[in-house]
């Protein structure tokens, strides 16, 4: 088993080396080589997963890093229930996206480079999830950052792309500093960073205050990687990368690393209620905030990017309230349907020659029937409509939020669910239904269905988007997924758990989702039906329709428009662009440049002035002691 475990990580690395070093020669087969490497990983990964399902923990240590006195870091790989889920999700989704990319990236000059980077990314991600210690996790953490950054800037000829890459790296470094501080604290208190050493002793070693500090530091890292408010700014810019990258890295796998890390550190977070509260609140706020953002955008990839932020917020609610398994559950289902949504968007872009605005699209269903169906499936899943996958996971999170005593978060979550359904179906209805908005556009662009090398992986994800949630059903009194994950990440014990009728909660959730879809339908489909001819012919019906129309108007004028306005002008333009983007990022840059400017006065080029500094140093340092003695 130890060889299999090692080879899971090595297979994509070998792919990376082949495509990276011999890229010139392997170019025509780069995609196939990369996909084969990943498929190998996936298949090999099934063995440890089976073993975990039988109740074992697979852990092998390969060599010991930094063996010095009390701090030794055994480098090994570990598959337990938590990493088994991640392993399955990462290898499966990656394999699908690799296959899809064979079609999508076809003809790109950097074809082999692209696959080399993708393989590098998967290697790092596997190190992140399979590592048996925080140190190894950090290695993977930095590795995925690097790969993501290389992939965002893949089309480096575009200035926006390289800028976005840079931004991603810098914002992530802020988070990474937090993570590193957390890890240093852990090493300081436990004398080790290995999970097997840290978690069993967490309760006896850590006081609540220390646990809170460590938790918050780790969460800062998670905020950077998983793009939580206010460190989310890099994610939307990261959409400059090729669409499969957005799908793989910025939706399905890498961004969930933060959620995984928090769930992994459950022993620490469970000791720190304040840190948990922060995690859940930030998650809830991000979920809501990002959903309002998604309402207004017209660029299909940005809509999906904001939607990703929002869904990540849900996951943080799940892990923040202490029901870690719900967060991981949503992580899994989200990987399926969000991966699919991005691939669908990629297929649309592919056939629309890179056009992104939903204003230009409409009625695409006729030209791309398979994509349309898949997108509807994915949208139903994300909207939380049973029996699609998203329903189970989202419902689990929200139900636990209420049960663990967070009613406000529950309310926010439900409102967000409504908005989610609305913006997703706004997207679906405007793009795939209705009429062509620009006459003859499709004809000129030769819009057609994507090749089957792209649609087949989409179908695979589509099927999982439908059935993937069934592991969250009750089977004989227990939920199998919960049973699996809580072995490793038990729920935080909450005194006086509240009990609510499950049917009612499900009812509310489903209603919210349906309501959102209905609203979108009324606005984007119904509007077309209010042709005046119909109105004149059926006078009594007209009143009804008119009334319905009033509802539309009402919704449009009194709810949607103000909301629109607020979210666009206030939240997006002011908070997002002005405060966070300009104030935060540019402000930091500005401040740094001012400081640097001042400091450059030190280096005037005149040797006299340099001597000033030397003597000033001597004076200040000795003056310090002179003053003390006199």
């Amino acid at each position: 088993m130890s060889g299999i475990l090692l080879f899971i990580v090595l297979a994509p690395l070998i792919g990376f080396v082949i495509n990276g070093v011999f890229g010139k020669w392997t170019k025509p087969y780069a995609g196939i080589i990369a996909s084969l490497a990943l498929a190998t990983s996936f298949i090999l990964g099934l063995f440890p997963i089976m073993s975990v399902l039988n109740g074992n923990i697979v852990e092998h240590i390969y060599y010991t890093w930094l063996p010095f006195k009390e701090v030794a870091v055994p480098m090994g790989l570990r598959v337990d229930a938590l990493s088994a889920v991640m392993l399955f999700v990462v290898t499966f989704v990656s394999t699908m996206i690799h296959i899809y990319s064979i079609g999508y990236m076809h003809g790109d000059p950097g074809y082999s480079r692209f696959f080399a980077y993708l393989n590098l990314f998967v290697t790092a991600m596997l190190i992140l999830i399979l590592g048996n210690s925080y140190v190894l996790m950090f290695v993977g953490w930095e590795g995925v950052g690097l790969a993501s950054y290389l992939l965002i800037g893949f089309w480096y000829e575009k200035d926006t792309a390289s800028d976005a890459g840079e931004k991603a790296f810098v914002v992530n470094r802020i988070g990474d500093a937090g993570f590193l501080i957390g890890v240093m604290f852990i090493i300081y208190y436990f004398g080790s960073a290995t999970y097997a050493d840290v978690f069993p002793r967490a309760e006896e070693v850590l006081s609540p205050a220390v646990a809170t500090i460590i938790g918050l530091a780790l969460f800062l890292g998670a905020m950077g990687k998983s793009a939580q408010f206010p460190l989310y700014i890099w994610l939307t810019d990261a959409m400059e990368g090729p669409t499969p990258v957005s799908s793989l890295i910025h939706a399905a796998t890498m961004v969930t690393a933060g959620v995984y890390m928090v769930a992994r550190s459950n022993a620490i977070f469970s000791l720190a209620p304040i840190a948990q509260e922060v995690v859940a609140s930030v998650g809830a706020f991000t979920a809501f905030y990002a959903a309002t953002m998604a309402l207004t955008h017209k660029d299909i990839k940005r809509i999906l990017a904001y939607s990703t932020l929002s869904q990540l917020g849900y996951m943080f609610i799940g892990v923040g309230i202490g029901a870690y398994w719900t967060g991981i559950f949503h992580l899994m289902t989200h990987a399926f349907f969000k991966g699919l949504l991005f691939l669908g968007a990629g297929a649309v872009m592919h056939s629309m020659r890179g056009l992104l605005s939903i204003d230009l699209m409409g009625g695409l269903k006729k030209h791309m029937p398979q994509t349309a169906i898949l997108m509807v499936i994915a949208s139903l899943a994300i909207s939380g409509i049973p029996p699609f996958a998203g329903f189970f996971s989202k419902d689990a999170i929200l139900a636990h939020a209420l049960e663990f005593g967070h009613p406000i978060i529950w309310v926010v979550g439900e409102i967000t669910a409504f908005m989610t359904a609305f913006y997703m179906f706004r997207f679906v209805f405007t793009v795939f239904y209705g009429e062509e908005k620009v006459p003859n556009l499709y004809h000129e662009l030769h819009t057609h269905e994507a090749p089957s090398v792209m649609t087949l992986p989409m179908w695979a994800l589509g099927i999982l988007s439908i059935v993937g949630g069934f592991v969250g059903l009750h089977y004989g009194g227990s939920i199998p997924f919960e049973h699996l994950v809580t072995q490793i990440a038990p729920n935080t014990e909450i005194p006086n758990e509240a009990h609510y009728s499950e049917a009612l909660l499900i009812g509310v959730s489903v209603t919210m989702g349906l309501l959102g879809i209905l609203t979108a339908w009324l606005i984007y489909i119904k509007k077309i039906l209010t042709a005046e001819g119909v109105a004149r012919t059926f006078r009594p019906v007209y009143t009804l329709l008119a009334n319905t129309y009033y509802v539309d108007e009402f919704v449009a004028c009194c709810i949607v428009k103000p909301f629109w306005w607020v979210s666009r002008n206030l939240l997006w333009k002011i908070v997002d662009v002005e405060i966070i983007d300009k104030g935060g990022v540019d402000g930091a840059g500005w401040l740094a440049s001012r400081i640097g400017f001042l400091l450059r006065y030190v280096q005037t080029g005149f040797v006299n002035h340099y001597a000033y500094w030397v003597s000033l140093g001597a004076i200040v340092l000795s003056g310090w002691y002179i003053v003390k003695i006199i």
Partner: protein
Amino acid sequence: MLYTMKDLAAIMPELIVAVFAFAILLIDLWLPKKSKGLNGVLALLGVVIAFGVTASMYSKNISAFNGMVVMDKASNFVGIIMLLTAFASIILSFDFIKREELEAGEYYEVLLFSIVAMQALASTYNLITMFVAVETLSIGMYILTGFLKNKNESVEGAMKYYILGSFASSFLVLGIGLIYGLFGSADLNIVKAGLAHADSLHKWASILAFLFIFVGFGFKIAAFPFHSWTPDVYAAAPTPMSAFMSIAPKAAAFLALLRFLIVGMGPIEVEWTKILWVVAVFTMTFGNTVALFQKDLKRLLGYSSIAHAGYMLVGITAANYLGYGSVMFYLFGYLFMNLGAFAIAEFISTKEDRGTEIANLKGMGYRYPLMGAAMLLFMFCLAGVPPTVGFVGKYYLFSAAVKSHLYYLAVIGVVNSAISAYFYLNVIVTMYMKGEPEDAKPVFNSVPLKVVVMLGALGVMYIGIFPSTFLDIAIHSIGF
């Protein structure tokens, strides 16, 4: 008082290097113009033999010349660092000297004599010997900085280095004078004994003496505010020499500083840790902040070396053996990353013939994939990204600070290394994401340079992944 063979054994590595330096001095006179390259080979040979001797005598512990010279693990460890640096710099110099038509004999001779001085600096407990050694190596460095005497920048660099270096060493002499006045000797063991039962006034006066001596050492290791020569001199000096002087003199000066602090100033540890705390924080922050605005690779590396001196001061400030050992280990790792980065600076300035502006790195990642990948590695290593040696080194430096309960210092260090990622990253961005220059020239091959770069990359990775042996040696090298 007789000096015996034992005394000579203690200065064996110094003697070998010095003998080769004299040999070059003599042989150079008879060499015809076109075979001046032999000087380089001779210098290389000397360094290799001295390396072999140092390594073979590694665990010896000899005190010679009335305690003026000692050979212990620490001096040998630093000796190995210096000789490796010298080895790489000499290899880099081969092409450089040919291209710039420099006087090869004098160049190598001065280089070898400065190595002798550094070896002496690293292996003495006597302040006056330290002073003489510091001056010898400084004079060597002034000369090497000004070696491109047809370039205004080079003359300017030498001039600045000279004035500031002499300025700082005057402070050093002042401090030595005060120490001598207080304890009647410049020998650190006697100073320690005297300081152990000194009254408060004596202690206070010796802190001032320490401060003046620290000006001298701070200048050599480029600590704020004695750093100002660094970027100018690095930019001005011949690139192989910038590489050399960013590592070897620093290593020797750090060891001398450690000896001075641990042995001589041991009894007033509480006080000097406070001073070094402040200096370390300013040094790190200054180096990293100003480096954000650099447009020239060599200047960037100059500021980055200031910042790295700050990180190493963190290890000293921790004042425990983990910290001291980490400094040694960091120096060892720094050797590989910095040599590699400077070699790349040399590479772009010669191969493309366009100087060392960072903008000239454009598209390098694709035109020279192997060199680009190596540079990426060096930058990540300098930024402290795992699994490179930079990460391991910083990890140990900061954990030594944490061990001594200097949490703020550790946090400032971590934040600083996060800031530093930005400008190292900028180099990578330029290499991979800023397009290609229009006037890309065809590739030349310079085997020695590539060898240095590849060895650097190998070292950075290998020590980063399997640091245990090296760590063990480094940590146990400080045994005084």
